[in-house]
């Protein structure tokens, strides 16, 4: 048993092709497909059947990871509209945006020196999450309006936030470890 690899990730899970995603619906559809195509169920079958089951599982996993992440889902939506990304050459030169990113990182760097590092990191985390949310909304607005170039610029910016949020999380964990 295989699946139609030509289906896009949204179709695979029976979801509408749009930025807004019902995460519980995604989780249910993912588990159903995962169970249906689990390689263990094909353990006693031919090499070919097992190989296909593995390919299907890998496809389903990639699809789920892509749709679960807001940034990857946005990027995937654009790729369905033939918007290209060039990871080697694309650079962002929006000065206001980069300055604010630089400032955020300087604040993050100073967190351990704050009187209360936990308060400092909480405040930063709250601000950054709010900005990230606003960017996601800006993506949805641009995408829905068919402004794909603007939507692409927003997706590129989301990567900086993903990185920043990851570093904030690391620092939070480090602070918690040290407090023990």
């Amino acid at each position: 048993m295989s699946i139609d690899f030509k289906k896009n990730y949204f179709e695979l899970f029976g979801l509408p092709v749009q930025f807004d995603v019902d995460n519980s619906q995604l989780a249910v559809a993912f588990r159903a497909l995962q169970t249906q195509h689990h390689p263990d169920r094909f353990a006693s079958e031919s090499d070919e059947a097992r190989r296909i089951a593995q390919q299907v599982t890998s496809f389903i996993n990639t699809a789920q990871e892509t749709l679960k992440s807001n940034r990857l889902r946005a990027r995937y939506l654009l790729s369905l509209s033939d918007v290209d990304f060039d990871d080697e050459r694309d650079t962002t030169s929006d000065m206001m945006f980069l300055m604010s990113q630089m400032e955020r990182r300087e604040v993050l760097e100073q967190v351990p020196n704050a009187v209360d590092p936990f308060d400092a990191v909480d405040a930063l985390s709250k601000d950054v999450k709010a900005e990230n949310k606003a960017l996601e909304q800006a993506f949805e607005t641009a995408y829905d309006a068919g402004d794909l170039e603007e939507a692409k610029q927003v997706v590129l910016k989301l990567k900086f936030f993903e990185r920043l949020l990851g570093e904030i999380k690391q620092l939070e964990e480090k602070l918690e470890d040290e407090a023990l």
Partner: protein, 125 residues
């Protein structure tokens, strides 16, 4: 991933970290970001009346290769004219630091940063 010796040297002892006042007329500031990895780089040059780059500073939030690329570039541009500095290619940086193919975009970032800094300086004159 293991970094090469030259990258580690710049990473452990970055040259010219810091900033100049971006509002000064003799300062050019270039800021760039790499959406592939979320690195942010600021490179600044201080240009003398003779048009030669007297000093350069950088601040990079990114991986070792991005830090090394910008650190190396600040060393290279000192004493150069703006035209000479503009001629530095990302491949020169990548070759000097022996960057692996997956890290070449870090040197692209540094090249874009110096070009942006020169543009910024020239737009102020």
């Amino acid at each position: 991933m293991a970094y090469g010796e030259k990258v580690m040297d710049h990473y452990d002892n970055p040259r010219n970290v810091g900033s100049f006042d971006a509002k000064d007329a003799e300062i050019g500031t270039g800021m760039v970001g790499a959406p592939a990895c979320g690195d942010v780089m600021r490179l600044q040059i201080k240009v003398g009346k003779d048009g030669i780059i007297e000093d350069a500073k950088f601040k990079t939030y990114g991986c070792g290769s991005a830090i090394a690329s910008s650190s190396l570039l600040t060393e290279w541009v000192k004493g150069k004219t703006l035209d000479q500095a503009k001629e530095i290619k990302n491949t020169d940086i990548a070759d000097e630091l022996e960057l692996p193919p997956v890290k070449v975009h870090c040197s692209v970032l540094a090249e874009d940063a110096i070009k942006a800094a020169i543009d910024d300086y020239q737009s102020k004159q």
